[in-house]
Symmetry: C2
Subunit: 258 residues, 2 copies
Amino acid sequence: MSKREKPTILVVNDDGIDAPGIKVLLEAVQELGRVVVVAPDSPQSATGHAITIARPLRLNQVHIYPGVEMYKVSGTPVDCVKLAVNKVFKGKKPDLCVSGINHGLNHSINVIYSGTMSAAVEGAIEGIPSIGFSYDDFSYDADFSGCVPYIKKIAAEVLEKTLPQGTLLNVNFPKTDALKGIKICRQANAKWAEEFDERQDPHSNPYYWLTGVFQLNDKGEDTDVWALNNGFVSVVPVQYDLTAHHAIPLLNTWNLDV
Amino acid sequence: MSKREKPTILVVNDDGIDAPGIKVLLEAVQELGRVVVVAPDSPQSATGHAITIARPLRLNQVHIYPGVEMYKVSGTPVDCVKLAVNKVFKGKKPDLCVSGINHGLNHSINVIYSGTMSAAVEGAIEGIPSIGFSYDDFSYDADFSGCVPYIKKIAAEVLEKTLPQGTLLNVNFPKTDALKGIKICRQANAKWAEEFDERQDPHSNPYYWLTGVFQLNDKGEDTDVWALNNGFVSVVPVQYDLTAHHAIPLLNTWNLDV
């Protein structure tokens, strides 16, 4: 970006264009550049890195907040990023992509299920400096105000400095009145032990609601879960190269010839 | 698993329970253990790691191939793995999870969009040794026969040996009559330059079909794309810890205090 031009900032989320979290996020970054919002027209939580290929997409400009350029998309968060780059920015990539603020945390293994984080991952794949933001409160009336100074600071720093090639940031905020600052972390080793709530429909056929119990398998004090449990904002650098490079030498000792 | 018991093998895919690829896969691994198929009741390509939380799921036993225990699920490939572990295997995890054979390749960046690979990733998160298989032919009548000896060999090796903690395998087959063997690879650095086919509906409103052009940004001869282009079966070890560990020291030099 030329030093003289105002940076362009793509704002996306997975809770939908009318979610309170995205309003807080777009207002937090408005002083840093020209904001364009491209977000799903319906809730898209837990859609991961899904894209829409079996049906066409709608992209429509909407006027929700005065003076803010906004578009709603009938697809997933990743669809939003792709449509933003191609149809809204017309190939001239934005200088920053911010996603969120998610209503609910996206620490540890949740990154892989999260539409919020997948949008930021797609931004990074596009070569755009990208950050996902999530807050530990699922409620519609969540008070995001404590997140705002950190969002401004982190976004400004990412705009000014350079994230390593192929990486983005996953930022989570604990619900506390007294944030202790920021910790750079790794993703905690954790999983969801799924449970299904089995019910019967009026025709006596079973159906299942996915639920689950969070299992933390990590006692490290360098993880996002530890940071959040101790009142810190967690910042995890994330990568989208999924190669387990460390496993290649071992596999080369296996005999897989037929 | 006890040496005396027959291994249990979960077979899943993203093309749907009636896809030819899953039939080839389940038949290929049948001699290795007791096969249970849990697969989507409709095509779920490119659904990534999406899970279904906003509506309930159906799980119903079906009888498609004689003697094969099969269930169809009204959800995503990852939902299938979760329902299989919890409701079909009732918490006693299978000894192996195989996903595919996908109609179409899942090399390089495609891992992150692929329902086939996301099912295998979910298997690995569950602690199940897991492998995704994909073949370079999208057609319904694809001839998967060349894949079969490799599938048997790789699945047997994974059952016998131990994949490193937190990893799984991504196996892709090129379309050739003369496979040259297996290459252990890293995921090639590539992306999709999205394009949208813009059309007008009968009411003169625009809609968009997602398409794209594959961009390979990697000249390495140690990548899956190189292997496939040169007639080899590519085997990439994949991990689901998305932390960019190498970026942590740099981020610790940034001033993110507010």
